[in-house]
């Protein structure tokens, strides 16, 4: 009885599925359809459109051509912000990668209490960037923080108050960012290291290759996946840098630590110049566009190479 029933359905099902549109699936994914289309497509189109208008506090459609972009790139605030994001980005990325990788390598030496170390290295990541920013702001406070503390120990001309000087404030941000984020890099890299086949190590040892060279030239190229994940994580975080700076320096001293994301928020809230804010926002889309283009190129090249090989 049951046998017959199931067979009947089994025979029928494939044919039916081909003809039928799965309405339930469409209804189930309606939130996705609405969100992806309205937020990540329509909203972005509007952002770009408004960047060509002189919208003030409310959006309007009074087009002014490229005026907002001309102003954007001639404004020192934006220039400083762009320089900062490059500097901050490259610094954070390099230090984070190197430090995270070193931590992972050292963690991978059969050490005792590995889980204790891992817990310590990773806990800052559970904290918000606001908390991170405030904590580091106090530690680097010139009057009550590390500097004064060490001076009180007798080293009276000790100076370590990066946040209050224009030239050094951004290093303070980098340190706080590293503190919060390098544990993750370590965790992902460590996973990558452990994914490398033991045979590789044995082979390298037999060939007499020093450990550091094995890491640098054999193991790193083998953990591309982990590296890619870390890079992506870092890059997307860097472009939207906001909370940390907001809490730690508010863009100061002066305008020394302004960031593009802060520029956008400032223009749509305080300065009531939505047109200008949207021009800056459009610029923030460039890195993603770049990533997408690079990805497209890589995919085509790979496809072509495969074609040749075949």
């Amino acid at each position: 009885m049951t046998d017959v029933a199931t067979t009947a359905i089994a025979v029928e099902a494939p044919a039916r599925r081909k003809r039928r549109i799965p309405y339930a699936a469409i209804i189930g994914t309606l939130p996705m359809i609405i969100v992806s289309f309205s937020v990540f497509f329509v909203a972005i189109i509007f952002v770009v459109i408004w960047s060509f208008t002189n919208s003030g506090m409310f959006p309007g459609f009074n087009f002014v051509g490229l005026a907002q972009y001309t102003r954007l790139w001639s404004t020192s605030l934006w220039q400083v912000a762009v320089n900062n994001i490059w500097f901050f980005g490259v610094m954070s990325l390099c230090v984070n990668l190197v430090f995270g990788f070193l931590l992972a390598v050292f963690m991978d030496q059969n050490i005792k209490h590995e889980s204790v170390f891992r817990t310590i290295f990773l806990y800052p990541f559970s904290m918000s960037l606001v908390v991170t920013g405030l904590a580091w702001q106090w530690i680097l406070d010139p009057n009550l923080g590390l500097q004064e503390s060490i001076r009180n120990l007798g080293w009276t001309d000790f100076a370590l108050a990066p946040l209050v000087h224009r030239e050094t404030a951004i290093y303070g941000l980098v340190v706080a960012g590293i503190w919060q984020g390098s544990g993750v890099t370590m965790a992902i890299m460590l996973a990558g290291l452990r994914g490398v086949d033991q045979e590789v190590w044995k082979a390298a040892k037999i060939d007499g290759i020093p450990t550091w060279r094995t890491y640098l030239f054999i193991v790193i190229p083998m953990m591309r996946g982990a590296l890619g994940t870390v890079l992506l994580l870092q890059l997307t975080g860097i472009v939207r840098t906001f909370d940390l700076v907001y809490a730690m320096t508010s863009g100061g001293p002066g305008i020394a630590t302004q960031m593009p994301a802060m520029y956008v928020i400032s223009f749509i809230t305080v300065r009531l110049n939505v047109g200008q804010g949207m021009a800056a926002a459009t610029m923030l889309l460039l890195p993603i566009a770049l990533i997408l283009i690079i990805r497209a190129i890589v995919t085509t090249v790979q496809a072509r190479r495969r074609g040749i090989n075949a």
Binding site: M57, R71, A161, R166, T249, G252, P253, G254, I255, S266
Partner: protein, 415 residues
């Protein structure tokens, strides 16, 4: 999600039902320092106890630009507060333009605001083309310096009599470990820009300063007066401390109160801090009206706007508050606590201290009134000046000439 929406509607209906008896009126302001909190309490008390049963719902947001941004977002998001603080000028121009503010003209005509508010320059930013869009609640002047005799005493100096004497004393103060010039760099650098504005008036003279900001005069921007202003400003910078970036204005004032710093240029709202700390004028602190050779009072201060609500109960509460803000008793209590001058003459100011009396005597001559820069500059331009001034302040590699050129460029682009 649907459920939550329904829940909100249900809650809203419930609240709406009770609103007939008591209306909650949310007020956004940035009166968060001790002196300011005492002052705003006077408003809240008066509104809560006026017999109508309405409630002042306090929403204090630290820092003017943050508070104003919150108001703007709330309006743009269709969820405006019942009332909000602004500085008189162009900050709320977009709200008027986009028909977002409650028209107060009927109430103002009934109560004769144009007769009781003096001088007329105070009501101008609210009274536009015959219509009233806001209520001025006080007159503040930016042009004040707050001096600590204790700081000078520590350095073995007499309290200087003139601005030039003060400048001459700065190196000695520094040697004695005293902060010569107290300032803070929070909120995009508004404190620095305020101090610069005072020095600018001192170096340019009132007439040229007005021409510069009102007519956006390029030759003045690039002229010698501005050069001197930037040069003087850079001199002051040499006598500040490391704690400056990110510091609030009232924390800077606290340095003067504690005798750690010699002088701060700050509007007369700083007086409220001295009052809240129990300090006595002319003994514990000295106030100088600036510019030193010819003191002027600026028309800065605060106004309250009432965003449209579309609810008659709330609207009635808004109008009641508007009227209350101007009543002589509330004006006296509020301004005494805050250190500002009342916007009407018939207020009992028997509690006024020497500093306020000084201000009140200056304001008697309308020629001594200086229009605040907010009247002529949009928030966009004002923020651009904040950026420039704080950049110039922190970046010694920016020359005076470069700064002047940038200043002129911002003016040229200003709308």
């Amino acid at each position: 999600m649907m459920k939550f929406t329904l829940a909100t509607i249900a809650v809203a209906t419930l609240l709406g039902g009770t609103a007939v008896k008591a209306t909650d009126l949310e007020v956004i302001h940035w009166w968060t320092s001790p002196g300011e909190s005492r002052a705003v309490n006077e408003f809240a008390k008066a509104f809560d106890n006026d017999g109508a049963g309405d409630h002042w719902v306090d929403n204090a947001i630290a820092l003017g630009e943050t508070a104003r941004a919150a108001v703007m977002q709330r309006v743009a998001g269709g969820n405006p507060p019942g009332a909000a603080q602004f500085n008189p000028g162009r900050q709320y121009e977009e709200l008027i333009k986009n028909n977002q503010l409650l028209d107060l003209t009927d109430l103002a005509t009934k109560e004769g605001w144009d007769k009781i508010i003096r001088p007329a320059t105070i009501s101008d930013p609210c009274h536009i083309d015959g219509k009233w869009w806001c209520v001025p609640v006080n007159i503040h002047s930016n042009n004040w310096a707050w001096v600590s005799p204790a700081a000078f005493k520590t350095a073995g100096l007499e309290v200087p009599k003139t601005w030039d004497e003060y400048i001459a004393d700065l190196p000695k103060l520094k040697d004695a470990g005293i902060i010569g010039f107290a300032a803070g760099g929070d909120g995009g650098g508004w404190q620095l820009n305020l101090a610069f504005g005072v020095i600018q008036t001192q170096d340019l003279g009132q007439a040229n300063r007005d021409k510069l900001l009102k007519d956006k005069d390029q030759s003045i921007a690039l002229g010698d007066g501005m050069k001197k202003a930037f040069t003087d400003f850079r001199t002051l910078k040499q006598y500040t401390d490391e704690g400056l970036p990110n510091r609030n204005w009232n924390d800077s004032t606290a340095l003067v109160i504690q005798g750690k710093a010699a002088l701060q240029i700050m509007g007369d709202w700083a007086r409220g801090e001295f009052g809240a700390a129990g300090k006595v004028p002319d003994k514990d602190y000295v106030c100088w009206a600036l510019p030193a050779d010819h003191p002027l009072v600026t028309t800065s201060g605060d106004v309250i706007v009432f965003p449209k609500q579309g609810n008659p109960d709330v609207e009635a509460a808004q109008l009641r508050l508007a009227s209350l803000l101007l009543s002589p008793k509330v004006q006296a209590n509020f301004n005494n606590a805050k250190g500002s001058m009342p916007v009407r003459d018939d207020v009992d100011m028997s509690l006024a201290d020497p500093c306020m009396l000084k201000g009140l005597s200056i304001i008697k001559d309308p020629a001594n009134i200086q229009i605040d820069s907010n009247r002529w500059l949009t928030p966009d331009t004002q923020s651009a000046f904040n950026d420039l001034i704080s950049q110039f302040w922190t970046d010694d590699s920016m020359t005076v000439e470069e700064a002047q050129q940038k200043y002129a460029d911002i003016l040229a682009a200003a709308q």
